[in-house]
Symmetry: C2
């Protein structure tokens, strides 16, 4: 018996309902060489769950891996296949002090950090209805420290498009922005952020309850210097969030931030998204892999990808991470105000809805 990676890659493409990147088989084997924890395989492989789960079934059929009691393991044959193809275990070279982000939140000052942490303690839980799933407190703070370093905080008007991560709160706590507006569809969140505003006297902070599928209220149009969003990752969902962000911006020189995973977006979708940013007149200034770390959400068994998993176990730690993207708008184009309808959360790669 002998197997070639290229043959596996071909077979995977034939079976997969989603875009397969050229190195998906290699990356998955590299992850399998490093761990038997299926969630860690998701994280390390950087292969979309939709593709990964199909591939795991294929690898099992070919005798390359086996499943047992909540774990996935390379067989002897699988290990041999890795050796033949020089596939070694994954090595992290990430800085432990900043978890590879390159950012130290201590620059925000102790008070901002501790206030934000105490506020976060009583935040509303994530709900599946709005594809929520918030990042760790350190992640939100690191985002704000990043914005500070890039000159996107001091004196700026900032729109946060969907804010279960409480980025608006952390921005406002620094006392630096001119104005921060949090837009969200979720009443609970809007109420929570508004309560924080009152309690901490955050004059620059305000909230707007809004369904992003609907056109934006007039007063938010062309009114901001910066937007931050962590979009739902169907391509349509991404477009809805980022288009609304762009519609909020004043124009040339303004900047936008968003997160993007490998869990729900293939490199093919990454490329489509980059093309979209450039076509809108933007330039990508930063892509920091695995910057955003997500706290596990309570509806893990209710998400689409639970059914795809060949091994049903709950994740033990952070496994869902996303890259931080920043771009600047160099040559703004007019973004038409489209009304979107129906479910914007799903495409063939989406995994958590």
């Amino acid at each position: 018996m002998s197997v070639k990676l290229s043959e596996l890659q071909k077979e995977l493409i034939a079976r997969s309902e989603a875009y397969v990147s050229p190195r998906d088989v290699e990356r998955t084997l590299k992850a399998l060489r490093s761990t038997t924890d299926v969630w860690r395989v998701v994280e390390l492989s950087q292969v979309p769950m939709r593709v990964l789960c199909t591939l795991l079934e294929l690898l099992k059929e070919r005798g390359i891996i086996s499943f047992s009691e909540g774990s996935v393991s390379l067989t002897e044959f699988g290990k041999q296949l890795c050796d033949e193809n020089a596939i070694t275990p994954f090595v992290s070279a990430g800085c432990k002090h900043c978890l590879g982000r390159g950012i130290d939140i201590a620059f925000l000052g102790e008070e901002v950090v501790s206030n934000f942490k105490s506020i976060s303690a009583s935040r509303p839980e994530a709900v599946q209805e709005f594809d929520q799933g918030f990042v760790t407190e350190e992640t939100t703070l690191a985002r704000v420290a990043f914005m500070l370093q890039r000159g996107d905080l001091d004196g700026k008007e900032i729109a946060v498009i969907g804010d279960d991560d409480l980025v608006s709160v952390a921005c406002a706590l620094t006392g630096k922005p001119k104005r921060v507006v949090a837009l969200d569809i979720d009443e609970r969140l809007i109420g929570f952020i508004d309560d924080v505003r009152k309690k901490f006297n955050l004059h620059c902070l305000s909230v707007v309850q809004h369904d992003l599928r609907e056109p934006l209220p007039e007063e938010l149009l062309k009114a901001f210097d910066v937007f931050f969003t962590d979009p739902t990752e169907s391509f349509t969902g991404f477009k809805v969030f980022v288009e609304r962000g762009l519609q909020c911006l004043k124009g040339a020189g303004c900047s936008g931030y968003f997160g993007l995973t490998h869990v729900e977006s293939s490199l093919g979708k990454w490329r489509k998204i980059q093309q979209f940013i450039l076509e809108c007149g933007g330039v990508i200034t930063d892509v920091v892999e695995a910057f955003n770390h997500y706290v596990n959400w309570p509806y893990i068994e209710g998400m689409r990808s639970w059914q795809w998993l060949p091994v049903k176990v709950h994740p033990k730690g952070v496994w869902y991470k996303s890259a931080l993207f920043r771009f600047e708008w160099l040559e703004p184009i007019e973004i038409p105000m489209v009304r979107y309808e129906g479910n914007i959360f799903e495409d063939e790669e989406a995994a958590t809805t």
Copy 2:
């Protein structure tokens, strides 16, 4: 007397021979708010020197800054202008342990680090003829640690296109790649790397002396998994280096690395370069700002931008930095083998040639 940023921006565009990004005035004032050292203004502003030097003259004419004994300072009027526009000093939030790279070179092991440092001690000096200027030893090592983490080192065939940074040597010292080939036009470097190969028994390492303007030798075509290059930054120069890199790659799933500065490339050029990568069928996976730190080169007074500088002083520390880009080739297109002629180092933004 009153000045508006938008008026300064307009006047700058009128005077500038190079692309002006929408926030160039704002960024320059922010840098001037933080330092009187002109090289630090270059670094912090992220404005191309070609544009920055024109702007500094303009700001002086308007009474916003003054020059004296090798320094540039905001006048009282200039400080007031900053206050009115909420322009505050630059704040670094970068992790001190990894200098904002997110990478810890200790993961390469002590022996690799110390051997590389001892080898670097006797490297050839940078020469202007080939637009050389090498990065710090820590930078080269961090690049290799980054490649290791991304799965671009173990068992891979790696082409280094222009190698005054000695990336090929650091890769080979890890013992992980299948093959590393250093291409360079400079006989001194080729000889140096070849001596290191012999002395350290680096069997996977080899060298090819080659002028990149000329078509590549047949045996290098479609033969590598990864290329690394730190191109000269005229747009043509960039294309020459990256096209040669792509021509070395086997095809889909291969990856490419390059550096890109703000000193010699406007955000307009950044965008053009990103469009080029996407049009070639690539997807950008990483953009890590200020990853690469350059050691000051001996021909500082001989470079183009020395004439533009309103204040002639030598830089004290690292001021020239570049972002690290990584991309993967998803849908390879055929890159025609063009022969380039003449000076590929210059465009209106190039500063160090």
